[in-house]
Symmetry: D2
Subunit: 505 residues, 4 copies
């Protein structure tokens, strides 16, 4: 680990002196996170998480700081890492380590996160969040995981698997079909763990009551594990709470996509042709934001229902092969891999902008791009790179622009999430909705009876409605109350829930 | 029944001479109903509905004519009534009776529907659709109901209930809490049936394999019946297919709400304050349409999640009590009753427009309005009425306008669905999505094994996606295909379905 | 003239018995025309138009009835014709003839207009509006023209020209480059006038103080006349008042374009590709309306500034040759001729909808369409025609659809203004803004000193702002007042006008 | 002047070592400024500005660097200062000083600008841009001013006035009605000039052929000077070119307003109530941007026409006094002073955000805010300040929030232009439109005959259309060409201009 960071056995962050600046931002964020603040007011006295130990893996931002301090205010002990190598806001990490100085949080929380981690550093940190100790300093397992993307959950499941097998398998080699630089690092991390303590992950898994998971991708992995009977503990699918999926995915992206593009490039979005790959909730928010800025949006989709929605919302639906040469801005929102391939990028106009706001960096085939012979990568500024195609005279006559310069495209955040890499992620209000769900999920996991066969659950609709209710006041919205007579007519309770579980909003 | 209509034992419609005009419109509608036409192409030879007898209760419009003729092209025998006293397009009814003259439909279909039925006529017609006969002219039960709003299903269930009890109970009297003019007519209808044949409905119910239901309200009743163990046959909830609920409810309303207001009033929507009661799918489509015409939209909601969605979409969320005096246009979209009360209408501005596009006419308290002492109802044109409040000098000083005229409001379609009463209902393309689901549901009901315990089902997602797929070509949308590798990464089949069942779109 | 109409020497309309229905609609329209009603309140006592004789040529609708009765309330004597053969609302014409029975309008106004006039009838009516008589029954010239499209003004100018020349020239023959069926009728009309009275138009022109003109096209003609020194009297360009051009052209079209398409075709606009030819104010309103209904809009433009605006508003800008085969709906908004040619229509998809909302019917080359060998015109309903292209097997293999039917397109209002032909024109509120400008212009013309050299003028900005002010209350808008200090800082008067004349809004 | 900056007699900027970074950004900006690059291609050989000396006062950003280097490529000698103390991008200033190394620009251009100037530094720099020398090092007057906001023009006019009077008058004192800190600095600057050279400004004014001015406010001052007969040289009103006013004011603000708010606060705009003061072009762009992000927008206006436009666009129009307590975000766009007063800010909700994107910092009464007894100003980060109202317990019970904290508001850029202070100003594409107009205006000024009586002119419409044309290609827009026949019908030239001068777009 680099020596230029602030580190101790209890934490590792960029610079503790940033803590006051972080504290200032946390105070402002609290105003925009009415759901979390309402939970502190409601549960601060009863402390339903007293005794809980939470291993958290979620972008270490100012908003997450408010989440962490809500968890501690409700009684939990917490350790934290970021779930993305670029997403840590260093001042937030520092402030969390230093603590708020309130009675609930006198000494802060151990955090292992800084902006621009290497992959080995990232997975080292992911492992550190499980290192709780009891009063006597002995290792003790966490009671819950709070996860975003599933990396912390992955580590436990793979760790247990390899410990059972007695060894970590060799990594696929470069050139193998399933080779991935990152997975090699995961295996190295687990191998080091296994050498130190061959029962580490097994012990940890036994102590965990459950995980609450934030993202589509992470939830998908959980359902896969459950369907294969491999899920080691209960899971709550926070991602599919309406107040998470529709708000975080749609409204959050609507906010942070143009923000990321603007900070990265300062290019006028109005009048441009923007190609949005995918029209799920994230794609819907992306398309709305770009149209709201005056772009002409073209959507690509594989799902006929979402494609029909895009058409009915007035967007052209086309294939990327057909429009790669038409767009000025390309945004992936799919959660799938290989969405924008090197051949698409080669076909793009000079200075086309390419970014990902879906989930993993494999939505854009960065590896394929880098493999184009003669291509050159120029850093314009951190997280903004110009990829200059080889000279037309040598390769093909399509890569030179009129002025004789070599044609290039601009890639944001190296293909990782651009709203985190190029901007500051979702705004506090959106995260308040997601995180209020997370806290309610953690309380559910901690207070519910353990399941015989661990399964994946969504939050009860009543809690989902509660999250919404906690945010309406802040927007000046006045809710109408059902009369008893109307409630009977609808066959619902006056206090809700108001819709059947299959309702789509 | 009136003598001025064209009637025979086999049908009763307004005027058979309208058939050629209806046939012309049907031909144009077929172009806008690519889903149904694709089903005819796919199943016209195999005729999966051969032998089926379908009792249909659904607005007898031009689009429904295309549905009926698709059902017959797939082999079914069909009888039809409208599910709304105002919604029949007489030329469509006539054309269906006369038939298309194609091999599948040489002699047409019995229809009992005309524009502007009385309540007794309406329920008489609802009963007539069950009167199938076999080759020898003997009564035979239908095999399926195709329902919209649940009136046909209600008739069977109540009929069976009363036949079991041996008598139809007396109707609640005017003044009783549960009094309803319409329910009195239902009871009268069933009483007449019972007198003629005390086992009519029991026999009919025994023959029915299932019902496919089109609307939120009808589906809700089905779930109620099922939860009480009273459901007599299987039910398919067509309403909650994505290609129905999101398309019919949202995009259809976006189209037909301003169309209805325009045809009824010719009032500029731009610049006006429109109050939309409810922000479900119907409310979302209504709000989008009104904003798209330049209105300022205020939303009322009882569900905090939908309220939060409205706020995030940029609408003011308020209670009707607070904004009754602010709006120029009021639209109910809730499916609930007593949404706009007489006291709200009394508080409205002069010439405020009030209409319902939700489901039943009890969303607006028309009865309460009519009970205001001294109020006067003036017909401006059919389905558009001015309700003139009593003179200010006698009652209160708020009812006179500046010019000394008495203050009034404009009520559309007497509180019933304004898009049907004041316009021509949903456009063909939207109905194509709904009706393609209906046909697939009827095939499912007819070909599936009977259930031991009848339950309510939604259509399998694969069929939902199929409906979408059948409509994309017509919009020029180009769908992207998953690679095998991507499908594996997502853990789905290349051909779909692509989303988990809980996905909300 | 047909004998089936109600006619007398003082008027000719379809059916006087429609008057009560028209009166009812006029009363409702008055509520939506706050500008005109405010003028009646302000000027009803002083009657600034007492002694004026106004020859009006403007669509004879319910809204125009409110205009006419405002002019009479301000003291004027009025005669009226419609400026479009399809645009008369017969009940409005009847109500105006019968009169409102108020002190200002005891006996009504002579009107020569009915829905669906022939061209000879139209120009006969245009000539009749100049036939004022004095108390003794002697002919007397009007003092002003109130014109829409310039036909009344054209008649006077050509009449004077031919009277000076002593003869009406022969019409160009069919086949000549400048042949036009309508111009032949104009010449016939003037020839008949000249035969009866060789100084009719010269006398009329001498009495006219000026004309106020409503439309882009009419105004353009006036500027042409002025620039050639041929303008016979002063002209006020009402069209370019902001409260006319931006409101009538943009907001009115936003309302009435989808209304016309809906009433004509009932086709879902959502999801369709709509091609809007022209992106002036009319095109801007058209594009906004279609997008607001979920269409994907493509714009064609000849003006680079308007084209850039369209691009910045997020619309694709393309040429019609490139997108004729892509669109589902085509709307002309240009005021130019030959915008959609027969070759474009031949290239369109089956059942493409073609309509004009610009000005004259020559925006769409209807004559060229009719000349395609073997083409067939089928009336779907009045003002909606299907043009069926000749059978593919005989001509080309592009005209047959999949089902083997012949390919066709739908043309609205025979290429004339679809919002008038297929709907009811602009809504009252929009017309209130235009017509309030018209009334103020008529007062200006009547009270100003005659000009030595007649010129074309726009209304003073203070009057434009006054028109706006008279409409704000009705929308619940609260205007902020400048402080004296702020007004000085801006170097304007506290009461306005607030902007320089070149300001574009 | 501070010693920490890079300075020489020929320039003064923050840090010359930033030049390579600036050059990189300039290269990217050139791709987004197709109008300027097209001018270089068109005029690079003929060099129509050879011999011209241009004193430029305009935000010293990357885009301005492309403008400067276009002017030099066309032959001009240029000196530059920023027109705002916060708006300089230091790397752009450095790159301009160092020069591009191309034949046209071997040694760069003298620039006097850095981010965060003091007022005395600002006005010192404004004076330095006039210090051209001839080949022998003798002072020589510039031939043109290129101005933004009118400060350079003001300096010349006041300088000449005071030189004629023989002395600079004393500044108004603090407390005087017309006191302004900035004006005191202006007088000090001119006093120092006058002491060094009593004919400096008179000589400079004599050499100037004209000024091209960028902004509403600057143009307004020019019209005032002209109307008083005090304008010393010709002026071209670039602001009112359509391709400037509609693009820069509207589309630029649409882009940079949310960008500025986001970078300053990271607050979710969606769901919030945003109050936009003013609905001119800037206000229209602001409202569109905020609505596009899901805010509910309320507009305040003093002009009834703009107010009516706002209402017709679906916005609530209210007075600030009525909605000060309702909004979450307040944006001034008026160009007027005292728009948001201290009493409004006192009435705002906790953490309300207040910013100005109009012109001068006096739109928000910052001085009045600072005068509230007990108020505290906390810097959150540069250009973002929290103003904490005095403790409720001492003053009033409205200033404390629920949590007991003192209520505060967030003010952006200390009331100066937030898109410059908190973001990077307009994006390159928008500035390309403005600056292409500027270059064409400078060519007009340099090549036209001097006027006897200097006046203010707008650019000929043909040049305005040319600017649009030069930007269409980059957006993939395909322009339709008029046929000769159509052009004659419209009475315009095939090549344009296409619209009358009064046309509003």
């Amino acid at each position: 680990m680099s020596q230029s960071r602030d580190s101790s056995p209890g934490y590792e962050v960029a610079d503790l002196s940033l803590a006051p600046a972080g504290r200032h931002q946390i105070r402002l964020a609290e105003h925009e996170m009415p759901g979390l603040m309402a939970l502190r007011a409601e549960y601060g006295a009863s402390r339903p998480l007293a005794g809980a130990r939470i291993a958290g893996s979620l972008h270490m931002t100012v908003q997450t700081a408010v989440l962490i301090e809500t968890l501690t205010a409700l009684g939990a002990e917490v350790r934290w890492a970021s779930c993305n190598i670029f997403s840590t806001q260093d001042e937030a990490a520092a402030a969390v380590v230093v603590g708020s100085g309130t009675p609930d949080d006198p000494q802060g929380v151990p955090v292992y996160a800084w902006k621009n981690e290497t992959l080995p550093e990232y997975w080292w940190a992911a492992s550190k969040i499980f290192d709780f100790t009891d009063g006597s300093g002995q290792p003790v397992a966490p009671t819950m995981i709070l996860d975003d993307g599933g990396d912390a959950t992955l580590l436990v499941h793979r760790g247990v698997e390899f410990e059972a097998a007695g060894a970590v398998p060799p990594a696929p080699r470069e050139g193998d079909a399933d080779y991935s630089e990152e997975y090699t690092v995961v295996l190295d991390t687990l191998r080091a763990d296994l050498e130190r303590d061959p029962q580490r992950w097994t012990r940890i898994a036994e102590g965990i009551r459950g995980v609450s998971e934030e993202t589509t991708t992470g939830v998908h992995r959980l359902y896969q594990l459950a369907s294969r009977g491999q899920l080691l503990f209960s899971a709550i699918n926070v991602n599919d709470a309406v107040t998470k999926s529709k708000f975080d995915n749609r409204y959050g992206i609507r906010h942070s996509l143009p923000d990321g593009i603007n900070r990265a490039t300062d290019v006028l979005i109005g009048g441009k042709v923007a190609v949005v790959c995918g029209y799920g909730d994230v794609g819907k928010g992306a398309a709305e934001a770009l149209r709201g800025q005056g772009a002409r949006v073209i959507v690509t989709e594989i799902d006929p229902i979402c494609a029909l929605q895009a058409a009915m919302d007035g967007y052209q639906v086309a294939t990327l092969d057909d429009v790669a040469g038409v767009g000025d801005i390309f945004i992936t929102t799919t959660g799938n891999k290989d969405v924008i391939l090197a051949r698409h990028m080669e076909a793009m106009k000079d200075k086309a902008i390419v970014g990902n706001i879906g989930h993993f960096d494999n939505e854009i085939d960065m590896a394929g791009l880098a493999r184009i012979p003669g291509i050159e990568r120029v850093e314009i500024k951190p997280q903004v790179h110009e990829w200059v195609f080889p000279d037309a005279s040598e390769n093909a006559d399509t890569t030179a622009t009129e002025g004789g310069e070599r044609r290039s495209i601009i890639v944001l955040s190296e293909g990782r999430l651009l709203n985190l890499g190029n901007a500051t992620g979702h705004p506090s209000f959106v995260m308040s909705a997601s995180f209020t769900n997370q806290v309610l999920a953690q309380i559910e996991l901690y207070t519910a009876e353990p399941e015989e066969t661990p399964a994946v659950h969504v939050l009860p609709k009543a809690l989902d409605e509660k999250v919404a209710r906690l945010h309406l006041d802040a927007l000046g919205a006045e809710l109408t109350e059902l009369s008893k007579d109307q409630a009977e007519y609808l066959d619902v309770d006056v206090a809700g829930p108001y819709k059947p579980d299959h309702y789509r909003y």
